[in-house]
């Protein structure tokens, strides 16, 4: 596996706080702005970057991320260009782990082997592919692991104890616990339920367990971060970008700054969520 992911989680564990994992859509609203957003994330406090790959039919996403994908595609974003974003980012940052997140079809059409080779050379550390459950591991998960790219699986409230081992079997990097049944951008779930679920998953794996879906503010990040090894924020960032655009959907003068401000706030949240020593 690429070392960046494990190094980062080890460092955070030493620091005693959860990771802040920030998602944005590659190419939203255009390539250059998107690159500048990505470059600004670590400085604002992001520990891991999730780089969204736009897809025309994002079946598990709510309106905020759907529209981000549409803006990116309209701006000419492709899978090649999303890889290019990572490559350019790596010129100035060889520490922050990058996880590409999206749907399988663009990767399948690009060609799995070619994609994995290009992803490694672009500095990608992990993949989250929403529509590839463990039953479909031969498609991308096994080839990715063989080439040294983490395959990060989603666990959900419907993933019961019987099913968890199958879900965790080929998972590496971290486990992404989707805290509710639903699409991205939903309301924040009850933190106490989340805490129970994280404990349940930790009973099956030594991997860090990060939690997403519904986290929008520093307080949310603090509450969820108290129970998890990481907090994932996506729709809130994407909505922040949307709110900063001009009427015709182009980048506004404050687009990058607006994202930085939000992420700085979230970073205070995770830093306030001191973990009781893990284990």
């Amino acid at each position: 596996m690429t070392a960046r992911m494990d190094n980062r989680f080890a460092a955070l564990k030493a620091e005693g706080r959860p990771a802040l994992i920030t998602y944005f859509m590659g190419g939203d609203p255009d390539f250059e702005t998107s690159l500048n957003i990505m470059k600004a994330l670590p400085g604002a406090g992001a520990d891991v970057i999730e780089l969204g790959m736009p897809f025309s039919d994002p079946m598990a996403d709510g309106p905020a991320i759907q529209m981000a994908g549409q803006r990116a595609l309209k701006g000419g974003q492709t899978l090649s260009k999303t890889l290019e974003l990572a490559r350019k980012f790596r010129e100035g940052d060889n520490e922050t782990p990058i996880v590409m997140m999206g749907y399988y079809n663009p990767i399948y059409v690009y060609g799995v082997d070619k994609f994995l080779d290009d992803a490694i050379s672009a500095g990608i550390d992990g993949l989250i592919v929403v529509d590839l459950p463990p039953e479909m591991d031969d498609e991308l998960c096994i080839p990715a692991l063989a080439k040294g790219i983490n395959f990060i699986r989603l666990a959900t409230p419907t993933t019961d104890d019987k099913r968890l081992p199958a879900v965790l079997k080929n998972t590496s990097g971290f486990v992404y616990y989707v805290s509710m049944n639903g699409i991205t951008g939903s309301a924040l779930p009850d933190p106490s339920l989340v805490s129970g679920a994280v404990k349940r998953i930790k009973g099956h794996t030594k991997l860090p367990v990060c939690v997403g879906f519904g986290v929008k503010t520093a307080d949310h990040a603090k509450a969820i971060g108290a129970a998890a090894d990481g907090v994932v924020v996506g729709s809130a960032i994407v909505a922040q970008i949307a709110g900063s655009l001009t009427k015709d959907g182009a980048a506004g003068p404050d687009t990058v700054a607006a994202v930085s401000t939000l992420v700085r706030g979230l970073a205070t949240g995770v830093r306030a969520a001191r973990l009781v020593a893990a284990e």
């Binding site: 025309s56 079946m59 929403v130 529509d131 959900t156 419907t158 099913r163």
Partner: protein, 406 residues
């Protein structure tokens, strides 16, 4: 001669992972996976449960009106001057199309699984109407997702669904057609996975849907095979059906797949022509990809983004096709051909005037292929076509195009 090796039977798929060759599978979010496995388990049990089969057969006979007739289209045959043309009259079913066959089966499964809410997607509205109908019959609340464009062009069916007590939710994303409705239905399902049953209307989606829908629709081909044997003492030379997602087609094809002497033809929507993007000919002009839970032929660009497509017929306006059709194409058992909007319109009018049957625009595509083939065939030869739905829902669309005052 180089020939692709052929399987012993064309009717044994899918395998236990839901694959037909490389096609099919279960490409869904983790949230849905446990539910899909439950559904598969319940379906395996129901298949061999005599009580389930009996209830299905009783409702088929007394609620749907099965068997549907096999009709010899005498005047059309005379007019075309070639092969004898038979229609499997699925448009005479309760609710006016083949869609009810599958809905009855799936609502019985939903009941067995203890689900309390039904969701469905619809293009032409035939599946929406059939879903709303069975939901009313079995006392379930029902939400139907329908592309906003389709809501407009299939207004009579929207009204029927509402009368039946369903909530019709227009979907404005994308072009507002069947693909977008399916995305939205999947989003609803992922959110309400505990109490909701997703009643998919076509032979596509994650396993076990393609197999299950095919099995519920195969009653069409099973009956037609018996009926043509009784009427003619032999099997037809050609079987033809229109293909959108492909449920009516797989329903009539499947029982004939191992009859090597029977040529089978699926008709895709050629729209305004295959040169541009204004068609829905996924097999003729598409490439393999993964969408809505299965790998199949899709209309997509070189970056794997799905295209919208176009067809005059809302029921064929889908950029994919059921995975079993993709497989049948890849091994050469079924031939898939495109028919243009205009050809389908001409066929629609011809049948209306010659046989006094107003067909839906979907089977009008199959009919246009019959019109091309029959004159080139001998008078002793037989074509069997699936007349999958009636055209009442399309009269406003057709009227507008023909410039008629309604």
């Amino acid at each position: 001669m180089n020939q692709t090796p052929q399987p012993n039977s064309f009717r044994s798929g899918p395998d236990e992972d839901g694959r037909f060759g490389i096609f099919g599978g279960r490409f869904v979010a983790e949230t849905l996976m446990p539910l899909i496995l439950d559904l598969q388990g319940e379906w395996e049990k129901a298949k061999t449960d005599p009580a389930f089969q009996k209830e299905l057969a009783d409702l088929g006979a007394h609620y749907i009106g099965r068997p549907s007739p096999l009709y010899f289209a005498e005047r059309l045959t005379e007019h075309l001057g070639g092969a004898k043309i038979y229609f499997k009259r699925e448009e005479l079913n309760h609710t006016g199309s083949h869609k009810i066959n599958n809905c009855i089966g799936q609502i019985l499964l939903a009941k067995r699984m203890g689900k309390t809410r039904i969701i469905a997607e619809t293009g032409a509205g035939q599946h929406g109407v059939a879903s709303a109908t069975v939901a009313a019959r079995f006392g379930f609340p029902c939400v139907v997702y329908m592309g906003a464009t389709d809501v407009e062009r299939q207004a009579p069916n929207v009204f029927r669904m509402k009368l039946l007590g369903a909530e019709v939710k227009p979907v404005t994303a994308g072009n507002g057609t069947l693909k977008d409705a399916m995305n939205e239905a999947l989003r609803d399902w992922v959110t309400n996975v505990d109490d909701t049953y997703y009643l998919i209307g076509t032979a596509a989606g994650p396993h076990p849907y393609p197999e299950m829908v095919r099995d519920f629709q195969s009653v069409i081909g099973v009956e037609a095979r018996e009926q043509i044997l009784e009427a003619e003492g032999r099997l037809p030379d050609v079987v033809i059906a229109a293909v959108g997602g492909g449920s009516n087609a797989i329903g009539i094809f499947h029982p004939f797949l191992d009859d090597q002497e029977v040529k089978i033809v699926g008709v895709e929507a050629g729209g305004r022509g295959l040169q541009g993007e204004e068609h829905c000919a996924s097999i003729t002009a598409g490439t393999p990809g993964v969408l809505h839970g299965n790998r199949t032929y899709l209309l997509q660009n070189e970056d794997g983004q799905i295209l919208e497509g176009h067809s005059i017929s809302a029921g064929l306006d889908y950029p994919g096709i059921g995975p079993e059709h993709s497989w049948l194409h890849s091994i050469g058992r079924v031939e898939y051909v495109p028919i243009m909007d205009q050809e389908a319109l001409d066929a629609f009018q011809l049948l209306t005037r010659l046989e006094g049957i107003i067909p839906a625009l979907e089977p009008s595509h199959a009919l246009a292929e019959v019109i091309k083939r029959a004159p080139k065939m001998g008078k002793e030869e037989i074509i069997l076509m699936n007349l999958s739905g009636r055209g009442d829902k399309d009269i406003f669309t057709v009227g507008k195009i023909l410039g008629m005052e309604l």
